[in-house]
């Protein structure tokens, strides 16, 4: 990790434990430190890297189990198109042909912080916004991100835009430790007293990519937290299409947005 101009630059091979403990990240981008600290288990965080965590493959037991689904190059989605499909952990947003989700905890945090990602290959280097790094099945059903063969994610750059903002991260999972998120949320808010000047809200594990909530962000801008929390919570689930076994994610998305605005104890 190094400071480069106004940006804090994190090498993609930085371990999640290092991200969690680094004083600059903790002081200025606590959202990322907290998200990294919620990944898996201490042993995995000691080995797993930030670049790896955001670039990991989809969570879907059919796809991961070797079933020949759309994402694997086949011609069906076992989680959705099969009448007995088991889709409790699957997507409620953007499930175009594939309902697998991004299981990353740090990806929503990087999108919320407007991180920039550096990708290198034999021809040179390019920079993409974190939000554009991830792709949904409507763009490319066989990929989770824009990395092409020969590409390497080398750096994550955190601009000062949200440094020291009011952050909120929460991960809901079946087990309190060593588990993927059922839904997580990363939020960054700039406040003037109780008024939200501007904010970014990003849900994880509800779509194949981190799911930003621009309508919620627009609705809360310039409003008092207490006045806007209920409205924001309703907007949060607009467009959600729950599957037979994951309707609970709609309630989770709403409740997490409300908690992000009001705080866990006040919601």
């Amino acid at each position: 990790m190094r400071q480069e101009g106004e940006n804090l630059v994190i090498g993609s091979m930085t371990t999640l434990t290092e991200v969690t403990r680094h004083p600059d990240i903790r002081a200025r981008f606590a959202l990322l430190a907290e998200a990294a600290g919620e990944v898996a288990s201490p042993q995995i965080r000691n080995q797993g890297t930030l670049g790896g965590n955001i670039s990991q493959d989809a969570r879907c037991w059919y796809y991961r189990g070797g079933w020949n689904c759309y994402r694997a190059g086949g011609n069906t989605c076992y989680a959705v198109e099969n009448p007995h499909g088991q889709n409790r952990e699957h997507a409620i947003f953007g499930a175009e042909g594939c309902a697998a989700v991004s299981p990353s905890d740090t990806a929503p945090a990087l999108v919320a912080l407007e991180a920039r990602l550096i990708i290198k290959n034999g021809s040179g280097e390019r920079e993409v916004a974190a939000e554009d790094y991830f792709v949904g099945p409507d763009d490319d059903i066989t990929s989770m991100n824009v990395l092409a063969p020969g590409d390497l994610l080398t750096e994550i750059r955190l601009p000062p835009t949200w440094a020291g903002a009011n952050f909120y991260f929460e991960k809901v999972r079946d087990r309190p430790v060593w588990d993927f998120p059922l839904v997580n949320i990363a939020a960054a808010m700039k406040l003037s007293g109780d008024r939200i000047d501007r904010a970014r809200f990003v849900l994880g594990a509800v779509a194949a990519r981190p799911w930003r909530l621009p309508k919620v962000e627009a609705a809360v801008a310039g409003r008092s937290r207490r006045d806007v929390a209920d409205q924001a919570s309703i907007i949060a689930a607009e467009g959600a299409v729950p599957l037979p076994y994951n309707g609970y994610k709609v309630a989770l998305a709403r409740n997490l947005v409300k908690r992000a605005i009001l705080g866990r104890q006040s919601s």
Binding site: E170, V172, N246, Y248, N255, K258, S266, S267
Partner: protein, 344 residues
């Protein structure tokens, strides 16, 4: 049925602990499905009511129950009590060991090691029964090429019960053979002799033979004494092992034919205090206490491990598993049904 009765108790404003106590088996309680003649099997014993009483006192059930409920915020707190039982012992397995010409006990153990060291710990029963120091025992285990006897499945709930009985059966066979050989060698009748201190000796004069001497004599005598003959009632796997050991010393082998007065079950009463966030479904177990009715504790550490391990299994069942009878797609996972988050 536990969760259903707990919910019923709550609706009827009854103490769930009292309901548990009413339904707890007691004494030689009937267990399992009816036999063909309509009668029921019974447990060897059940002290679950006592376990509930002791557990409730330790856990502070009544004091916790009297606390006012949390009504502010999204967290709710509650206490619960449950009971469980498990088949805790099968019978009819074989014990097998050899008293070698060096006077040592070579114990053949068919028990696998689940990490509890039961494969050797259980054999301490055998050492006690033979009055032999543990240092004079050698355990052979883990590979059927080492001539193992027919043994129970390796499980914390089974092994001590099943294989200590089998070990005792083999020990009684060894003591009988030791006395017979001593009587044939030194005179008198087997009843004149006793076993202790790695010797077989006359009760009146103390004259006797060391285990080493008896082992050599057993080889000379052959037949059942050194394994050239084998009891008919042991398992064929044991017979094969005995044949392989023939001539190596005094071969002690026997099937557990001890009587049993009922079916062997262990019981447990569990108490938990839990917090649940009703906006997310996330829970925390604040406190947990398990009180076991398990009879004589042979190995305290293994017993503690068994209680902790099975408690974890139960917590896993309670928190993450559910099935719908008649649904061919029954699956693990309960959040959509039982602890789905509420809209706040």
């Amino acid at each position: 049925m536990g969760p259903i009765l707990a919910k019923a108790a709550r609706r009827l404003n009854l103490d769930p602990l009292a309901v548990c106590r009413i339904n707890a088996p007691e004494g030689r309680a009937p267990v399992g499905p009816p036999k063909p003649d309509g009668s029921l099997n019974s447990a060897t014993s059940a002290f679950l009511k006592e376990a509930l009483d002791l557990g409730a006192e330790t856990f502070g059930w009544q004091a916790r129950r009297a606390r006012p409920p949390l009504t502010e915020g999204s967290v709710r707190r509650g206490i619960g009590v449950g009971t469980g039982c498990f088949v805790a012992g099968t019978i009819g397995f074989d014990g097998l060991f050899v008293i070698t010409p060096a006077g040592r006990l070579r114990i053949h153990s068919g028990i696998g090691n689940l990490g509890t060291e039961a494969f050797c710990d259980v054999q301490r029963v055998l050492a006690d029964a033979m009055d032999v120091p543990w240092e004079a025992c050698e355990i052979l285990w883990g590979d059927t090429a080492r001539h193992l006897p027919w043994s129970c499945v390796s499980g914390g709930s089974q092994t001590i019960h099943s294989m200590s009985r089998a070990g005792l059966a083999a020990s009684l066979d060894a003591r009988k053979k030791l006395k017979e050989i001593a009587a044939r060698t030194l005179g008198g009748v087997p009843e004149d002799y006793d076993v202790g201190g790695q010797r077989v000796f006359r009760n009146d004069t103390g004259q006797g033979m060391s285990f080493a001497e008896v082992a050599g004599r057993a080889i000379e005598l052959g037949g059942a004494y050194d394994g050239h003959e084998c009891p008919d009632d042991v398992n064929k796997l044991t017979k094969t092992s005995v044949a392989a050991l023939a001539g190596k010393g005094l071969v002690a082998v026997a099937r557990d034919n001890f009587p049993r007065d009922g079916q062997t079950y262990s019981y447990v009463a569990s108490f938990a205090e839990v917090e649940v966030d009703i906006e997310t479904g996330m829970y925390r177990i604040l406190d947990f206490h398990a009180e076991a009715d398990a009879g004589l504790v042979v190995h305290p550490r293994a017993f503690t491990g068994q209680l902790a391990g099975r408690s974890m299994l139960g917590i896993g069942h309670a928190t993450t598993q559910k099935s719908w009878p008649g649904d061919s797609t029954a699956w693990s996972g309960s959040r959509t049904a039982s602890n789905s988050p509420r809209r706040s």
